[in-house]
């Protein structure tokens, strides 16, 4: 079909072909930009076992997982809480929704720079505010402390994306038929029971959507970490993530940069694509049961 050719062609050339090429690149040893012998899974073994890249890979993966779990926990608890409050007190609902979702509109890179200015140790407003309420001992070099950097990164990320769960949960709560809630209330259900027995199960599809979106977002993260911690991922690499590791291996790596970074890319691809598919299946099955 003539109508399909240009679009499908461009998509194939710019999205699919490069990924297939990366798959092929990963099976060869490289000397700079010259392709060497076929090494099978050699590059994969190399990045999984050779120090330091093997330990960087493990650390980056761990940080991605913590980043995902932390973001989910914080943004969903606060997002659902706020959505419930707004559901029960609709006065000013639109206004608060807009205000709470504001950070959503800013690009992650700018969010990163914004917070690195606000959190800067000596001239940052955050530490100044702590000083003003005489909590000086709480003032910290937030992004310079290896133990603090990752939690701060998670908080900043949750701050940015809270609008997602807020709006999705809000819409889901609005979609629950009032008759169900009233029936439960007439049967004598307490608010707590009402939430866990009626609302929560009906919110599961929303949880599914949020989980998949957050997973994809968290494992593709690059800009935010770059802005908060630079290419090496903050103090001692405490915020290093797979995206940064791929970038460093590909463009600052050794002579076999092409082979090794392609292996890293394919491992990430399988992880992200595979888990996203799996999550979708799992949550869809769950949905049918309800």
């Amino acid at each position: 079909m003539a109508f399909c050719l240009p679009g499908a062609g461009l998509y194939s050339a710019m999205v699919i072909y490069p990924l297939l090429t990366a798959l092929v690149y990963g099976f060869f040893a490289w000397e700079g930009t010259t392709r060497g012998p076929f090494v099978g899974v050699g590059n994969y073994l190399e990045v999984l076992t050779r120090y330091p890249i093997s330990s960087e890979l493990g650390a980056a993966l761990l940080h991605n997982v913590l980043f995902f779990v932390g973001t989910m926990a914080i943004q969903n608890t606060i997002g659902l809480g706020l959505a419930l409050i707004l559901h029960r007190n609709p006065r000013g609902k639109r206004f608060f929704q807009t205000l709470f979702s504001m950070p959503f509109l800013i690009s992650p890179l700018i969010v990163g720079y914004l917070w690195s200015l606000l959190l800067s140790p000596t001239f940052g407003p955050v530490n100044a505010a702590l000083k003003a309420v005489s909590l000086e001992s709480w003032a910290q070099p937030w992004l310079g402390e290896p133990d603090l950097a990752l939690p701060v990164l998670i908080l900043v990320n949750a701050w940015q994306w809270i609008g997602g769960p807020l709006l999705i949960f809000g819409a889901a709560l609005g979609g629950i038929p009032q008759s169900l809630e009233e029936a439960a209330q007439i049967d004598g259900a307490r608010p707590w029971t009402l939430f866990w027995r009626i609302r929560f199960p009906l919110l599961m599809p929303a949880v599914g959507v949020i989980t998949v979106l957050t997973f994809i977002g968290c494992f593709n993260v690059f800009d935010l970490v770059y802005a908060l911690g630079g290419t090496s991922g903050g103090p001692g690499g405490s915020m290093d993530v797979l995206g940064l590791l791929y970038y460093r291996t590909a463009f600052r790596g050794g002579s076999n940069a092409i082979g090794e970074s392609s292996a890293v890319a394919m491992l990430m691809f399988v992880l992200i694509f595979g888990v996203a598919l799996l999550l979708e299946r799992l949550l869809r099955r769950r949905e049918v049961q309800l």
Partner: protein, 289 residues
């Protein structure tokens, strides 16, 4: 305003009515989170109107006498104006190309039956879940041999291609709800495929095309990863890369940094404020079954 509280409930209310103390508590909670969500943005906005000595002496304070001088420094001396122009050029061209190709593709896939059509649709839609950026290194070498490194055209091609799966997904969903009678009538009147597409289908698709345009614009405007690697000369930088350079060079000029951040985040906020309707329509078009 206590009038609302004294009016008797019009219909059966939940048994437990919230007490006044509780509703004050709720309002306080909402306002507290409003400060958390909006405060940081407000701090940057205020900071952009304060002079550097104010900012260093008192990190938190009211807008001072700096006026627009911070903005002038950021816009001209730090050449944010150039980056703006590049971003606008690249985003508009990418979105136009993407939406054009995607509407043709969506039309072909949903209106013409041909062998492999379903497979082709699945192949394109699968792109929604593919982390395309992992192909960056091959793209780099491909562009190097094609002379597309340090070229805005290269970026446009990449962005347009990357936006195709999402656009096709939304447009196909929309076309499913449009009855084909009009097109059949045009066919009987002797219009050819291209004519039907241009004069009948494209005008029908306008709401979905608007939604897709708004949705594609933001990620392209914000993208940092591709230009970081593929663009080399300063005068071709888009805003995210330019901003990164700017942050590095002007680290001591905090007033200009705040102003630069405001300038960088303003366009998208404006687009969203004016296009909320399209966004909502686009969301429902994508989610609708």
């Amino acid at each position: 305003m206590t009038a609302a509280a004294s009016v008797p409930p019009a219909r059966i209310q939940p048994v437990r009515r919230p007490s006044t103390a509780r509703s004050v508590g709720v309002q306080l909670l909402l306002c507290a989170y409003a400060v958390v969500a909006f405060g940081p943005i407000l701090l940057v906005l205020i900071g952009s109107f304060r002079s550097n000595s104010d900012l260093l002496g008192q990190p938190i304070g009211l807008p001072g006498s700096a006026g627009l001088t911070n903005y002038a420094r950021a816009w001209q001396t730090a050449s944010l104006s150039t980056y703006f122009l590049n971003s606008a050029l690249v985003s508009v061209a990418s979105v136009a190309l993407c939406v054009g190709l995607a509407s043709m593709l969506a039309y072909g896939l949903s209106r013409w039956r041909f062998r492999g059509g379903a497979v082709l649709a699945a192949y394109v839609i699968a792109g929604l879940m593919i982390p395309a950026k992992l192909g960056l290194l091959p793209v780099f070498y491909m562009f190097e041999s094609a002379g597309l490194i340090d070229s805005r055209l290269g970026l446009v091609l990449l962005y347009a291609a990357g936006g195709i799966p999402f656009s096709v997904f939304v447009l196909m969903g929309f076309l499913r709800g449009v009855p084909p009678e009009l097109e059949e009538a045009a066919l009987i009147d002797g219009a050819n495929e291209w004519r039907i597409f241009r004069s009948v289908v494209l005008p029908l698709m306008r709401p979905a095309v608007a939604a897709v345009t708004v949705f594609q614009f933001a990620p392209i405007w914000n993208d940092f990863f591709y230009p970081l690697v593929l663009i080399r000369s300063d005068e071709k930088y888009t805003i995210p890369v330019g901003l990164t350079r700017f942050i590095g060079e002007y680290a001591a000029d905090r007033g200009a940094l705040f102003a630069g951040l405001v300038l960088a985040l303003a366009p998208l906020v404006l687009v969203f404020v004016f296009a909320t309707k399209q966004i909502v329509a686009g969301l429902t078009a994508g989610i609708g079954r």
